[in-house]
Structure formats: C-alpha cells, structure tokens
Amino acid sequence: MTAQPTDIATYNFAYLDEQTKRMIRRAILKGIAIPGYQVPFASREMPMPYGWGTGGVQVTASIIGPEDVLKVIDQGADDTTNAVSIRAFFKKVANVAVTTDTAKATIIQTRHRIPEHPLTAGQVLVYQVPIPEPLRFLEPRETETRKMHALEEYGLMHVKLYEDIARHGRIATTYAYPVKVEGRYVMDPSPTPKFDNPKMHRSPALQLFGAGREKRIYALPPFTDVVSLDFEDHPFEVQTFDQPCALCAAENVYLDEVILDDHGGHMFVCSDTDHCEKRREQGHRGHLAPETPPALEKREPAQ
C-alpha cells in the first residue's frame, strides 16, 4: 500500500490500558492469596482469537515491565507459529527483550508444557488455559461447579478416576491431569501432559494461569504443594519413553514423535527445543543427530 496510514485507530502502549492492567493485577493477587482458586476477571478482547492464548497474554501484559525478558513456548518449542506470533506481539506493543533461553527469561508464557530446565525463584511461568474448570467435563454448569469447589465436594472426580481404573485398568487421563493445591482446591494444570505435573509441586517460580475466553485467573505462589490425584493402590505415574531423544540423547524428558516417512518410520525428539539445542551445544549426540550440527548458530527471534 502506498497510502499513508491515517490516525483512524490507535492503540495504547502494551495494548491494554492501565486501568485494565490494574484490574487484572488485582485478580492475580487474589489468585496468589488463594492458591488454586479460580478468580473471575473481566477478560478483554485481545487482538488474537479467544482460545489462542488470550488469557496468558492478558496476564503477561499486566505483569511485564520494560526490563523483563520474555520467552514464549507452545508445545515446548519457541518456534511454533503461535509462540512466534505472541512473542512478536509483545515485541511490537511493549518493546521488551525476548529470548529462547529458559534460564535467561524472567517471564515465560507457555502453552501445554513446562520447560525441562528447572525454574528458579524470581521467574514467572504464565500458562495459557483453555478450560480452567477441572470439573467441567463432569458437570457442564458453572453454577454447579462453583458450588462443588466451595463445598470441597470432589467425590465426582474421584469416581471418574476410579471408573477409569475399573474400565481400563489405569487412570486414562494423560494431560490436564487434575491436581490438588495445598490440600484444598482441585485445579486444572492446563493441558500439559501429566509428565509435567511434578514440576509444579513446590516450584520456586511463581505460576500464573490465564483463561481469557472463560474469564478466569488462578495462581500457584512459589513453593506451593501441588499433588496429582491418585489412589494408594494406583499411585500417580508420569509417562516414560523407551528411548532417549534421537538428537540429544536426553532421558527423562518429554519427547515428540516425528514421522519420517510414509511407511511407519518415526523418531522421538525433545519437545523442549531450547533444552535440546543446549544439550547438543554441550556435545550430547543422539543416534539420529547430524554429523555436523547444522543450524546451531545462535537463533534469536527475528526483529
């Protein structure tokens, strides 16, 4: 377009107006004060669609300052398209420094994963949450589920888990596996694989959860007890993989299956791309890693 843009529409710094940020910060503080409790907040329309991380984006927009360093991941990776898009959004509207390095980030916004590199005090992990209510698939009505939380009436959830065992011989929930927070609220950890649940337990980092479309914020202050629901004779277990990462040989990490051809060939690689790259830089090599590391030049997000 050759036309000069007009001033027909302009946007505030960091997109959200300051009053909105204050409202969201109040909800966050309330969430921190009552770990695991879903705080209703007046979620705003964001310039990305509902369901694409608007809750996480609103939380991040409300807590981010000019000196923050932001990392955004989706499925554990920094370069999935929606992570790229959200990172670009904050670079554009808040002009903050961004990184892919878990250790260097002060705020990490995530969808579906917790980084493999342990988080430290002072870091904030912001989760994008699609359905914040762990009881939603057992009881569709908000009026009912709020009552159940208020009365600490979680029998229905235990019955569901028990029925899983009776029917399938195991608890057939692999992600968004419900947890109990500080012995009080049952909480949805967002659709992270249950592999990541133990990382939430007594994490030194502050964990904030934003659900934009459902208008809820909840939080885990540092060092909060987060226990995955289970039974004495069917204790909670995380996924294990039979083989290490094919690129960096890491074990005890979450792996993605990558299809290599159309007759069943596949390999398993780290879902956390930053973790995988760091390990390869340190010389770890998986059985399918290229001879000379191809694209290991420092990959900072494009300006």
Binding site: Q19, E45, M46, G51, W52, S271
Partner: protein, 370 residues
C-alpha cells in the same frame, strides 16, 4: 537425516503478505473506499457495529474491508479495538418512545397512534436479481413525507393501560446497570446483563434459537407488538453541569415481542414481553433477541425449563461469536504434545487388548481340540 522445522517467523510474515495481496485482489479493479462501504453495504456495517459493540460506521467499514468481508472477523477487529478505549462514562438510558422513527410496524394492531410506517424494508420486495443494478443504473429519489413532530407511543404503553401486559419492570432502587465489557459474567445473571449479552450475540445463533422456540422447543406464542427503527438521542450526565449533555444520536432497532401467558402461581394471566434492541438496522436480530429474551425468562414466570433457548448458561455462554470462532478455530493450533500422550496411552491399551484377544483365541482352539 532429520532437521527440526524452523522459520515460523518468515512463514508467518509471508502468509500475511499473501493475505494482503488476496485481500486487495486484481489491482486493475479500483480499491474500495470506506465511504462506499458505509453507504452501500450499510446493513453489513450495522451488524459489525452491533456485534462489535462499537457505534462507529467508519471503523466498522474499515474492519469489513480488512476482513475481506468476513463478518465475524470484522466484528473481532472492532471488539479488539473498542476494548482498548478508555471509558468516560455511561449515557442516560435512551428513550425509544421519543425515537425519530423511520420504520415502525405492529402485527398486533391494524392501526395505532403514529400509524404503520414501512420505511426502507426488504419486506414485500420480490427477490428477483436486478440486472439494472449490475449495470449501475441510476436510482430515483425516494418520496418522503415530512416527519410528524409527535413522538410515536410504544405499543407496550398502549396495552399497559388495560393492565393486560406486564409493565416495564423495575430494578431495585440501588441497582447499578451491569457492564459485560467491564465485569466477568456470573450465572445466574440479572436481565440487564443478559440483554447486553444478547444484543452483541451472534445473529445466526440467536436466529436459530428464536426459530427453535417457534417450532415447539419452549414455544411462547409470540406476536410482534412492534418493531421500530430510527434515531435516538444520547445524553450524558456530567458531574459539573446541572443538565444532561447531548452527545448526538444513534440509529437503533427495537423489537417488543408480546407473548401469551396463561398465568402461574407467580404471575396472573397477562401478556408477557420479550425485548430486543440492537445498533443500526437489523430487524432479524432484534426479533430473534426478543424471542430468546422471553424464553430465558422462563423461571421468572414459573415455567418449566425444557429447551435449549430457556437455558441461560447454555445460551449466554455460547452466543458470542468472537469467543466461539476463536475456540473452534484454535483446534488448528499444534496439539502434538497432548496427542503424543494420548497416542502412547492408546498404544498401550491396544497392546493389552490384542494380548487378551490372542489369549482368548488360543484358549478357544485348545478347548476345540480337546
């Protein structure tokens, strides 16, 4: 050899460049101007203003052209802009009784004070495609009589004199009208909140629900008491001034649906009402909204809640098309971490299942052999 896919940023930038190209289309065709859209696609502009909850024709036109005519995308653009605007205050309630009416029809009375006024309507047009329009033919000037200075009384006020229709209803003295753009929705909700949500609700969704009530799912015997379209004055109370300050006018469509009601333990036999009000000109939306509003008042009148249209949490939670489209379309985003977890579970369960099957077959063979 496997190399992880990189370059999401370049791919996104290129995709957006292609989108901009496709939006513009053939460069030998003149680009649309916003005033053309405002003037000639006015009802599309009205829908975007109504469901975008922002009364600004020019911005709605910009959104429509930017969205390539995708209405929900345009509504989304407008919503994402309006939410960043500071809030100066709230106008006084508009008085639709004092509306400068361009169209007003009633289905309950043959004639009534102020008369039936057809106005600019598609009603009674024969839906024949018009080749003259394609040829860009001139359009004759319309005939318009001078407007009556007298305001048109609302049909609800006429019926109210006999006491046969429920009154407008009162909120408690200390009730402050809610604002769904500033407070989280909570169920059950007061009617003012519900009406706000319906007014910005998706036209197609409300249309289908309203239609379902007519076909017997929570039938409530509706009559169009009145539909009116026209300009209303907006006035704002400013603390420093002893009078309300006029801000200008807005074009709205209002529908008063009159519904039969046989009475219950909670209310005497009388006509009840469903209410619809939307920005701009959209009778379909206002009427559908009024049907839904009445259906959602079931518990207020002691009626059984038996159908989707009467279920407040169901209707209001799913009426917003910006929310709905976002969550439906988010299924396009990568889910391979969760899918991997499910894949692993299904593989294990499948292996156990197959082992059981094989064991069972071996058992059968053994028994048959014996």
């Amino acid at each position: 050899m496997y190399v992880a896919v990189k370059g999401g940023e370049a791919a996104i930038a290129n995709a957006h460049a292609l989108l901009a190209d496709r939006r513009r289309g053939d460069r030998s065709v003149p680009a649309l101007r916003l005033d053309q859209i405002v003037e000639q696609l006015a009802l599309g502009v009205d829908r975007v203003m109504s469901e975008g909850s922002l009364y600004d024709r020019e911005l709605a036109a910009l959104a429509i052209v930017q969205a390539r005519g995708d209405m929900i995308e345009a509504i989304f653009l407008v919503r994402a802009y309006r939410t960043t605007l500071p809030r100066f205050g709230y106008t006084r309630a508009i008085d639709t009784g004092a509306m400068l009416v361009e169209r007003r029809v009633s289905a309950t009375y043959k004639d009534l004070p102020g008369g039936q006024l057809l106005g600019p309507t598609f009603d009674y047009t024969h839906r024949l495609l018009d080749p003259e329009l394609a040829a860009g033919g001139e359009v004759a000037e319309p005939l318009q009589r001078a407007s009556d200075a007298d305001a048109m009384p609302r049909v609800s006020a006429i019926l109210a004199r006999e006491g046969l229709i429920e009154p407008d209803g009162d909120m408690p003295q200390d009730h402050i009208p809610g604002d769904i753009t500033r407070e989280p929705l909570e169920f059950p909700m007061a009617r003012d909140i519900r009406l706000q949500a319906l007014s910005r609700g998706d036209e197609g969704f409300l249309l289908a629900l309203g239609y379902s009530t007519q076909r017997g799912y929570a039938r409530n015997h509706p009559f169009v008491g009145e539909v009116r379209i026209g300009e209303v004055e907006l006035e704002l109370d400013v603390p420093e001034l002893p009078f309300a300050v006029p801000l200008g006018s807005a074009r709205v469509t209002e529908c008063q649906m009159v519904n039969q009601f046989k009475g219950s333990t909670k209310a005497p036999p009388q006509f009840t009402r469903g209410y619809g009000l939307v920005f701009g000109q959209s009778e379909r939306k206002a009427m559908a909204m009024a049907l839904c509003d009445r259906a959602l008042r079931a518990t207020e009148f002691g009626e059984d809640v038996v159908a989707a249209a009467q279920d407040e949490e169901f209707v209001i939670s799913h009426s917003d098309n910006v929310q709905a489209t976002g969550f439906v379309e988010h299924l396009k985003l990568p889910h391979y971490v969760d899918f991997q977890a499910e894949l692993d579970l299904v593989r294990r369960m499948r292996a156990e299942h197959d082992a059981r099957e094989n064991a069972g077959k071996a058992e059968e063979k053994r028994e048959a052999a014996e």
